[in-house]
């Protein structure tokens, strides 16, 4: 059985609380990126969808998410196979009943997870921009936060079977980033591309640029700040890191993001003649996503290398998925969060510093679980939801923009007029 997190000193508890207070900045940053990379005619909708997703995710996690996820050392259901007991789901009461709600590690983990699930819930919104109905997105978020995320997070952080075989993830490259990113992939497949993205005559897909690059790039700074809190809190609560180790965590997080951003800028400069702002932002976030798993176990040089590779992977896979996969993912959330996160998990297996309790085979098993369980599970749930009530907005609503269609008012009524939105065709 995986032992529970050790009790923290008063200073460490205060530090964890301070780190937790930074994480909403990452959530706000991802919401801004989603908004800035979408069309102006759906900007209010994107921001409101983010707020709804956070609300629904927190509610679903409160109702049943934590009961499924639990914490290491807490009550859990096990199955016996090959003569060994395997922990597969927690047995906490619903509605957070029975928790003392003090500064114990279990309660700090609860708060961290409430924020992490909110962050994960925003990732699929990026793949469904400009065409995902608000109601459908909310129900889909409830399924993610109340079922898919807690189950996988229990296996990793709640003393579940992945933790039992030696899988390690300090702050969520797999449970937060990859789970969110693979759900985004399922959503991208189910919703299909935006109108006009792929021509009936074939050829290259149309580029549909985001409407506000400043929002997107400013959000990168917010996300970086939030990620420092996320990785530091995860390192202390899940990695058992002492206060002094947070220097390593902060350095590694920053180096990974910096190298990923530089890699994205260099590659786009070399390929297109000038750096691409949205791909640079994607690269930056991809570096952060990759840093989460091993920020406690990398040396700074390895963290820089992991970031460099993450930035390159994000740039190439965004283009590949767009052209060859025909996945219309306006924010690149599949590349940034799924591929960046999976790369971080694998990199931890192969490049962890000497003495770290990491096994490459266990890390590969974690990735196999993401692909073989999380993706089909998220896809099936969202496919069923789509059968019950179509997730995609009507063609008229997409042409008009989701702001007018679903909210009744645009985000920029004084400045932006799309003449074609109001003309009968």
């Amino acid at each position: 059985m995986i032992p529970p997190a050790p009790a923290l000193s008063e200073a460490a508890t205060v530090l964890v609380l301070a780190c937790l207070l930074l994480i909403p900045l990452a959530i706000a940053g991802i919401a801004l990126i989603n908004t800035g990379l979408g069309r102006s005619r759906s900007a209010s909708h994107a921001m409101l969808a983010a707020l709804c997703a956070v609300s629904v995710a927190a509610s679903a996690y409160f109702v049943c998410g934590f009961a499924i996820q639990g914490f290491a050392g807490g009550p859990a259901h096990t199955i016996t196979a090959a003569g060994k007991q395997w922990n597969w789901i927690a047995a906490q009461p619903l509605f957070l009943r029975g928790l003392a709600l003090d500064a114990s590690p279990a309660c700090l983990i609860l708060w961290l997870q409430l924020l992490s699930v909110a962050l994960a819930a925003l990732i699929p919104l990026g793949a469904g921009l400009d065409r995902w109905r608000l109601g459908a997105a909310s129900v889909s978020t409830a399924l993610l936060a109340g079922l898919v995320y807690p189950l996988f997070a229990h296996w990793v952080w709640g003393g579940g079977w992945l933790a039992q075989i030696g899988f390690v993830d300090t702050a969520g490259s797999a449970p937060v980033q990859a789970v969110g990113g693979l759900t985004a992939l399922a959503i991208g497949w189910i919703l299909g591309p935006r109108r006009g993205k792929y021509s009936s005559e074939g050829g290259l897909p149309a580029a549909i640029p985001g409407h506000n690059a400043v929002l997107v790039l400013f959000a990168c700074f917010l996300v970086w700040t939030g990620w420092l809190g996320l990785n530091s809190a995860g390192a202390m609560l899940f990695g058992g890191a002492p206060v002094g180790a947070l220097v390593r965590v902060g350095l590694n997080t920053t180096l990974s993001a910096a190298m990923a951003g530089l890699a994205a800028a260099s590659i786009t400069r070399a390929r297109f003649g000038r750096p691409d702002a949205s791909l640079c932002a994607n690269g930056w976030i991809g570096g952060l996503a990759a840093s989460s798993a091993g920020c406690l176990f990398f040396t700074p040089a390895v963290a820089a290398l992991v970031g460099l590779m993450a930035g390159a992977l994000v740039v190439f896979t965004v283009e590949w998925l767009d052209i060859y996969g025909e996945i219309d993912d306006p924010t690149g959330s599949v590349s940034v969060h799924a591929i960046g996160g999976i790369w971080g998990v694998l990199a931890l297996g192969f490049f962890a510093r000497a003495g770290a309790p990491v096994q490459p085979l266990a890390q590969i098993a974690g990735v196999a679980t993401l692909l073989g369980f999380v993706l089909p599970f998220a896809y099936s749930l969202n496919w069923l939801l789509d059968r019950v009530s179509p997730q995609r907005v009507a063609p008229e609503g997409e042409r008009q923009g989701l702001d007018l269609h679903e909210l009744g008012a645009g985000a920029y009524p004084e400045f932006v007029i799309h003449r074609e939105d109001f003309l009968q065709r």
Partner: protein, 59 residues
């Protein structure tokens, strides 16, 4: 094709699980894990291809 791809994803995962449950030797376990991941990649390719095919048919 889509259903086959999803089933291959799950089947690959089942092989990885079985490797950890039933095999003790590191080399045999690694071989089975590699086989399971390869099957998952095949399944992922099929699911991706099925979505592209649907769109091609609609054109």
């Amino acid at each position: 094709m889509r259903l086959a791809g999803l089933l291959l994803l799950v089947a690959g995962w089942a092989i990885v699980l079985a490797a950890f449950l039933m095999l003790g030797a590191t080399v045999a376990r690694a071989a089975f894990v590699a086989a399971g991941v390869a099957i998952e990649i095949l399944g992922l390719g099929l699911v991706a291809r099925s979505h592209v095919s649907v769109r091609e048919a609609r054109r």
